[in-house]
Amino acid sequence: MADRTPQQVLSDMASGYLNPQAYDVEELKGFLEEAHNADVRTAFQSALAETLSGNGIGRGDWEELTDDEFEDDAEWRDYLTALQAFLFEDGPYPIPDEDDEN
């Protein structure tokens, strides 16, 4: 992955781990925490921060990458914020309990 840009790394990770059909954010976290994946972690973290600041990919591209759907931009951004906290700041699991009772 050495020649991948941060946005490409974000795409790779999102399409592989964050598709609801294969959702495994814990596996992603474990992968990013392995020492030999430090470059991938840095790239993913920076691309995610860029996306949250409005300079990365938009909601439509994210939905296409992940086969996921969001009500609106606000819901999507809330989710990305929770994802960022879970992956990089020891935050809670990014899917709230109430979603489990949909």
Partner: protein, 445 residues
């Protein structure tokens, strides 16, 4: 020799690039001869050496040249020649120039059928940086260079360890141990010798099972293929005793299934077609039952045949796993779809697993270190119409979530437009094998 025009070279470049790409996945037979103006190069996966020689002769090949097996491993094109004594001098270098003129920067090695390098192509200065390290440099630098060369052959080494018969694997493991011992003892000369021996062994990895040769001779002839039913039974028994066999023999089993389908389309007599159909169904069951099965993947579990619409609706609205009935963790799904028959699932599996293997080869993806998390590949996908044919809609079903403000979500039938595809996500494991994470038909309106 008369120089070829740019357009002639462009046509040949396309053909040669396609052969090299295919030979990365499976050993080919080849014929390479001097012609009137240039080399004449022919190779084929299933045609034997004589047939390749005939193809070359038909295009004007002269007497000087070679036939044998062609393998491609990273930057190396290995020509395993049948008769080293009659192979023209400097043939590796000549072929390297031939490839280079067609835009392929490769290194060419001629090997004997015993795996001895008989001509390494006398690499030029531009490749000196990649050349094997030489003694006399600083010992630590030499060891570092040797380690890089070992690292570069890791994918093919793992593939060899996964596919070779047990006694051959033992020889490879011994060579690896010898290499590691020499590196630990900081003995570059011994390490280099061990590395060379290892490279020879990897290049000459024998086929995991005796499928290829028998399949090659049968081609897609219905009658000849019908006689291979014993081979399918042997494979079934092998899978039962050694589930990893299916992973190792996947390309060959896939090719056998394809040959059976082609043979059935030739409309052979009814008794023969029944025989071929039974063989294909046996293969489908093997693929469905032994590759990508839960707990390794939730492909068959959530997207295989036998699921009801109610189960799919519960998956969307109640996050219920259709097979276990238990609630699953993770993100709620908005679409739930499945294949209606095993053959459609397997058909998609063949295409997407092949794509994943190609993706690994084309991008030089290496397996993770031993014991580390797998490398997840980006999703593989293909249009359902291309995989299942014009009647693809009869093989899939699905529902999708419908949101209405102020009301509970409900489900409606999914819309299957012409761009609907099948999608699969795979992990590359530390032993070099693939594990399916999911495979599903994906409705696109």
């Amino acid at each position: 020799m008369a120089k070829k025009s740019k357009s002639e070279l462009a046509v040949e470049a396309k053909e040669v690039a396609s052969i090299i790409a295919a030979a990365r996945k499976a050993r080919h037979n080849f014929a390479l001869f001097h012609g009137k103006d240039d080399l004449i190069f022919k190779a084929h996966k299933s045609k034997n050496k004589s047939a390749c020689r005939k193809m070359a002769k038909d295009e004007g090949a002269g007497a000087k040249g070679a036939v044998g097996a062609l393998e491609v491993e990273e930057k190396f094109v290995n020509l395993i020649v049948e008769d080293p004594d009659s192979t023209p001098a400097n043939f590796a270098k000549t072929f390297r120039a031939y490839l280079s003129a067609r835009g392929l920067k490769m290194k060419v090695r001629l090997l004997s059928e015993d795996g001895d390098v008989i001509d390494d192509g006398a690499e030029g200065d531009e490749e000196a940086a990649d050349a094997p390290p030489e003694l006399g440099d600083d010992i630590e630098q030499v060891l570092e260079k040797i380690a890089k060369h070992f690292e570069a052959m890791k994918t093919s080494l793992l593939r060899c360890l996964n596919s070779a018969p047990a006694d051959y694997r033992e020889r490879v493991v011994k060579a690896v141990e010898l290499y590691k011992k020499a590196m630990k003892a900081k003995s570059p000369d011994t390490a280099l010798k061990a590395l060379a021996a290892l490279r020879k062994l990897v290049a000459a990895t024998p086929s995991p099972v005796i499928i290829t040769d028998r399949l090659s001779s049968a081609g897609d002839d219905p009658e000849a293929l019908g006689k291979l039913d014993g081979l399918v039974n042997t494979c079934a028994a092998q899978v039962t005793s050694d589930p990893a066999f299916m992973d190792r023999a996947f390309p060959e089993m896939r090719d056998m299934r394809k040959a059976l389908k082609t043979a059935m389309n030739k409309k052979p007599p009814p008794s023969n077609i029944a025989e071929l159909k039974a063989m294909k169904e046996a293969l489908d069951t093997m693929f469905y039952d032994h590759v990508d099965k839960p707990p390794r993947a939730h492909g068959p579990e959530c997207h295989g045949p036998g699921l009801t619409t109610q189960q799919q609706e519960d998956r969307i609205l109640k996050k219920k796993n259709p097979r276990t009935g238990k609630k699953f963790k993770g993100k709620p799904v908005h679409k739930a779809s499945n294949f209606l028959d095993e053959a459609a699932f397997v058909e998609s599996q063949m295409v997407l697993r092949t794509q994943a293997l190609d993706h690994i080869d084309d991008n030089g993806i290496k397996p993770p270190p031993k014991g580390a998390k797998p490398v997840r590949l980006p999703p593989m996908k293909a249009k359902l119409v291309d995989v299942l044919g014009p009647n693809w809609q009869t093989s899939v079903q699905g529902v999708k979530r419908k949101k209405q403000k102020g009301q509970k979500d409900t489900c409606v039938d999914a819309t299957w437009g012409p761009d609907s595809n099948c999608k699969a996500i795979y992990d590359l494991l530390d032993d070099g094998t693939l594990r399916l994470v999911t495979l599903y038909p994906n409705p696109i309106a």
